[in-house]
């Protein structure tokens, strides 16, 4: 660790920044070529005259008569010098909308990813210890069934079960619009978290536990585990301290990337449960030809990849002395 590590991370960060720039530029051009914001205005009744359509688009830096490179330059300088991602197709600020949605997604995902990672690792390790016993076989079957199931199916199934039981858990939106007072809103908000969290948790726990199970199985027969027990560590302690500690290392990058990228990938869950987060926005902005918002999401996603990469490097180096330079 120490200085070598710092330099290593700095170098990585620079690499990732270059990647981020290339990726967001790509998204901007792609969105500008594929999306037709003019259609939104032209489909109105009564149909507005072309001149006013162009002037509206020009005010949003979307005028198709201006060369795309020039629009790109405006977009880029606005971001770099003013931190301004422009306006949405309906005239609202992209910055404000994105801020709000990031907050919503964070609230939705924080809990499920934390629980998902911890329980996934634990379940995987436990399954490995009980390889081929009934509990392991059942876990395997259930895991594959869930992995094979599309997320909407899981979400709708949970909703259906809830409805069938007489809706003990409310799930639409962030909270009950009828709730008043801080305590009531918070409680309602927590209740509304249950089903989407459960959906996301199921998806993650099954995936993570599969990976953890296989890395744990590799470690279980390792010589160093036998050494640890020969030193006098009881079975359970040796497994946790020497076995699991080594077996989580290869799972870490997967865990980190999955968690971080879920911020824009929880589209179905957000849609199904009416949470207006980043995942939902990704789909909505594309269908509404909202170039500026799509480009902003592109930037956000590539920054997430950057963060995930750095984080996974950090976690890896913290856990495994062999990669420290």
């Amino acid at each position: 660790m120490g200085r070598g590590m710092g330099r290593f991370l700095l170098k990585r960060a620079i690499n990732y920044l270059i990647l981020t720039f290339i990726a967001s530029t790509g998204v901007y051009f792609l969105a500008s070529y594929c999306l037709e914001p003019a259609m939104n205005l032209l489909s109105r009744h009564p149909r507005p005259p072309m001149s006013s359509v162009y002037s509206v688009l020009a005010s949003q830096n979307l005028d198709p008569r201006v060369p795309v490179v020039e629009r790109y330059w405006t977009w880029l300088t606005q971001i770099l010098f003013h931190g301004n991602f422009g306006t949405m197709i309906d005239g609202g600020s992209v910055n404000a909308e994105m801020g709000r949605r990031i907050f919503v997604s964070t609230e939705l995902l924080l809990l499920s990813t934390l629980i998902g990672s911890i329980t996934g690792v634990m379940l995987g390790a436990w399954n490995a210890l009980r390889q081929y016993r009934p509990s392991d076989r059942i876990s395997t079957i259930v895991s594959y069934a869930i992995i094979a199931m599309p997320v909407p199916v899981i979400g709708i199934t949970l909703r259906t079960i809830d409805n069938w039981m007489g809706s003990p858990i409310q799930y639409t939106g962030l909270d009950d619009p009828n709730a008043h007072g801080v305590v009531a809103v918070v409680l309602s908000n927590m209740q509304h978290l249950i089903l989407p969290t459960l959906t996301l948790w199921l998806v993650q726990v099954t995936l993570f536990s599969r990976y953890q199970r296989s890395t744990m199985l590799d470690v279980l027969n390792a010589d160093f585990l036998r050494t640890a027990r020969a030193k006098g560590l009881p079975f359970r302690k040796a497994i946790v301290k020497h076995g699991l500690r080594t077996a989580v290392i290869p799972v870490m990058p997967l865990l980190v990337y999955n968690i971080v990228l879920l911020f824009v990938g929880a589209t179905f869950t957000e849609k199904l449960f009416g949470w207006h987060g980043m995942g939902e926005w990704t789909v909505d902005t594309i269908t509404t030809n909202d170039i500026n918002s799509v480009a902003a999401i592109g930037v956000f996603t590539s920054v997430l990849v950057l963060i995930a990469g750095l984080l996974s490097d950090l976690v890896y180096a913290a856990l495994d002395p062999r990669v420290r330079v």
Partner: protein, 690 residues
């Protein structure tokens, strides 16, 4: 030696059975032994004989599916049937364990110090500082240089020998009464093996512990053990004092094992005595003596009744399990020649070396690898000098051996030659053709004449290909017709001592020795002139190894082959090689006629290497003075100035300042010691070390 009469460890009628899909595997079928303080007992046997299972069951570390019966008493206390929690209080405290592979025996994510302190703190109520202080003492004791600096190093920063020292430190951390060492030096080089065995002896002196040593190496046994138990098919077949077992064995298996070992101290050049056949399956043991099928003196009763281990009257303390032990004892059945030794065919070609054609000439071969740093922009920060100026030649009908410790560049040399390099410094000439200038068709032709046999007979054969296809593949690649291939495959199989019908089977159906024979047959398929053998017998058991070595010797004469033989086992090389080159850090330090190099080694490294090889002879072994090398092989990225061996040279230490200066500044050139014997040392002088 502090020996009182009550044993610390007593094992009675220990039996271990594992369930398996094909039936119960009776891995250990009743073994008794006792160990007293300060005493060393070696359990010897080949793979699958049950020796490691015996050791592991004493510690209670067998998988839970194993059924263990009998009795294991530690100072009178029964260990079998104790819970894991109770056993954990004994493991590491009363019984320390050293495992075979030091590279994987330490947890990679914790520092050496952390793991050693953990071993201390599990059993003793020590503060962190006290544990660290004790850990430093232990590391000092096992000979880790500069322990204060190395204690915080991680396992991957230690060499194999250093790691094994750390594991020994852990095993003796709590002053155990018994140390179990399971093949503690098998994975190490001979010079490091000698160091580690010394450390084990020191550890035993300091702790007064009894050592239970599991090994297949009869040389190591001869040097370490007071008592020896020989195991075969899950049972002890001979047990007694080391001298009794080595000099007056009464069981044919022991006799066969001892005669199958190639010995460094046997100068006479003759075939090894192979123990034909394979150990029986532990699932379906045949009736009678399990060794009967391989025993040359088996009689009817041997196939009916399994002999029990009984006292041999003539030799005090010796017990043997053989129906004919009495006849062996009184000389009616001679030990010498009990197992038939095949005749070694004589080379019938030109005996004068100079007039035989050259098959391979390597001149000033250099292979340097750049050492780079940086993930995106790579820059060169150094050079790994894996092979650094190698010159040698091989003549027709000759076995040329390259010897050296791991990391000395022998494998790189082989790979370079097999690569038929185009651009490089120096030159490689195969059968008179310079590889640099070869193109397309000629290169293909050379590939046909130059074949290779690998170390691991399992990994080098495709498990999904029947043996017939394995052998046909090189033939097809060189455009042989179907009919010719069909005729060639059975021919090849019988050439290496297998049956033509074996072509239908898959590699997994063969034993290790048979698989290596298949590997040899594949190399022979295209009638090559030169075969490169990379550690061809090091993965095989002693009894099997002898047969493969004999086969190689026989094929050489029969087919007029030449071998480039790479191995680390000097006894094997002494047996098979006509000429030898000893490598150190990418250079040949001594080379010449095998006889000359082994009889009068002149480079201090060769002398140390030879003196480190243990002999399977307890009396000789105890009298020998070892030249112990200090430390590990330096990194080939950081080769010492002047003579590259000087940092470990035992001779360098005794030189005057003026003489030593020469070693520091001047790289010694190879100088002739005799007609076909040269050494690269400023102060080369012959010394008898075996």
């Amino acid at each position: 030696m502090t020996s009182n009469n009550t044993p610390v460890l007593e094992v009675r009628d220990l039996r271990v059975t594992f369930p398996s899909e094909s039936g119960a595997v009776r891995a250990v079928r009743g073994i008794d032994f006792s160990l007293r303080s300060g005493e060393t007992l070696a359990i010897v046997g080949e793979s699958g004989s049950g020796k490691s299972v015996t050791a592991t069951s004493v510690l209670g570390l067998l998988p839970t599916s194993a059924q263990v019966t009998g009795s294991v008493l530690l100072e009178g206390r029964e260990l079998l049937g104790l819970s894991d929690t109770e056993m954990s209080k004994i493991r590491g405290k009363d019984i320390g364990m050293v495992f075979q592979d030091p590279l994987s025996a330490l947890t990679p994510v914790y520092s050496i110090g952390t793991q050693l302190m953990e071993a201390l703190q599990i059993h003793q109520n020590l503060s962190k500082q006290a544990a660290r202080a004790r850990a430093l003492e232990l590391l000092e004791l096992v000979g880790i240089p500069d322990p204060k600096r190395r204690i915080d190093a991680f396992p991957h920063e230690f060499s194999g020998g250093m790691r094994q020292r750390a594991v020994i430190a852990m095993a003796i951390a709590n002053d155990p009464k018994v140390i179990i060492a399971d093949e503690p030096t098998t994975a190490l080089d001979v010079t490091i093996q000698a160091q580690v065995l010394e450390v084990l002896k020191t550890a035993q002196e300091v702790t007064g512990a009894a050592i239970l040593m599991i090994t297949h190496d009869l040389g190591v046994v001869a040097g370490m053990a007071d008592n020896v138990t020989v195991m075969y098919a899950g049972r002890p077949v001979e047990a007694g004092t080391a001298e009794g077992v080595f000099y007056e064995p009464h069981m044919p298996y022991t006799i066969g094992l001892l005669s199958a070992v190639p010995r460094l101290d046997k100068t006479e050049r003759k075939a090894l005595t192979p123990l034909e056949g394979n150990p029986p399956s532990m699932v379906k043991l045949p009736k009678g003596c399990p060794f009967a099928a391989r025993c040359p003196i088996a009689v009817d009763i041997c196939r009916e009744q399994e002999p029990r281990l009984v006292d041999v009257a003539a030799v005090p303390g010796l017990q043997s399990a053989c129906h004919r032990a009495a006849e062996i004892g009184n000389g009616d059945l001679a030990r010498e020649g009990m197992f038939p030794t095949p005749e070694l065919s004589e080379w019938e070609g030109e005996s004068d070396r100079a007039s035989r054609p050259e098959v391979l000439r390597v001149e000033n071969l250099i292979k340097h690898f750049p050492l780079t740093k940086g993930a995106v922009f790579k820059r060169r920060v150094g050079t790994v000098k894996a092979v650094d100026g190698l010159t040698f030649d091989i003549r027709e009908g000759e076995t040329f051996a390259l010897v050296g410790e791991s990391g000395c560049g022998k494998t790189t040399t082989l790979l370079e030659i097999l690569d038929l390099p185009r651009k490089q410094e120096g030159s490689v000439v195969v059968l008179g053709k310079e590889t640099k200038t070869l193109t397309g068709k000629d290169r293909r032709g050379i590939r046909r004449d130059l074949q290779v046999v690998f170390q691991d007979p399992m990994a080098s054969l495709d498990a999904r290909m029947p043996v017939g296809d394995v052998l046909a593949e090189p033939l097809r690649a060189h455009g042989w017709s179907k009919e010719k291939i069909q005729a060639r495959v059975p021919e090849l199989l019988s050439l290496v001592g297998l049956l033509p019908e074996h072509a239908e089977r898959f590699p997994t159906e063969f034993s290790g020795g048979q698989r290596q024979r298949i590997g040899i047959a594949r190399a022979l398929a295209l009638d090559p002139k030169l075969i490169v053998l990379d550690e061809p017998v090091s993965a095989l058991d002693v009894s099997i190894q002898a047969g493969v070595i004999n086969l190689l010797d026989e094929l050489k004469v029969k087919l007029g082959l030449s071998y480039l033989f790479v191995a680390h086992d000097l006894s094997v090389i002494r047996h098979i090689a006509d000429r030898v080159a000893v490598m150190y850090l990418g250079r040949i330090v001594e080379s010449g006629d095998a006889e000359a190099v082994f009889e009068s080694p002149s480079h201090p490294y060769t002398q140390a290497l030879l003196s480190a090889v243990p002999l399977p002879d307890p009396r000789k072994e105890r009298e020998r003075q070892r030249i112990l090398l200090t430390g590990d092989l330096p990194s080939p990225a950081d080769v010492p100035s002047g003579c590259r061996f000087r940092t470990r040279c035992p001779k360098f230490v005794g030189l005057t300042e003026g003489e030593a200066e020469r070693c520091r500044t001047e790289d010694p050139a190879s100088t002739a010691m005799a007609a076909d014997h040269s050494a690269a040392c400023h102060y080369a002088a012959a010394l008898e070390v075996v």
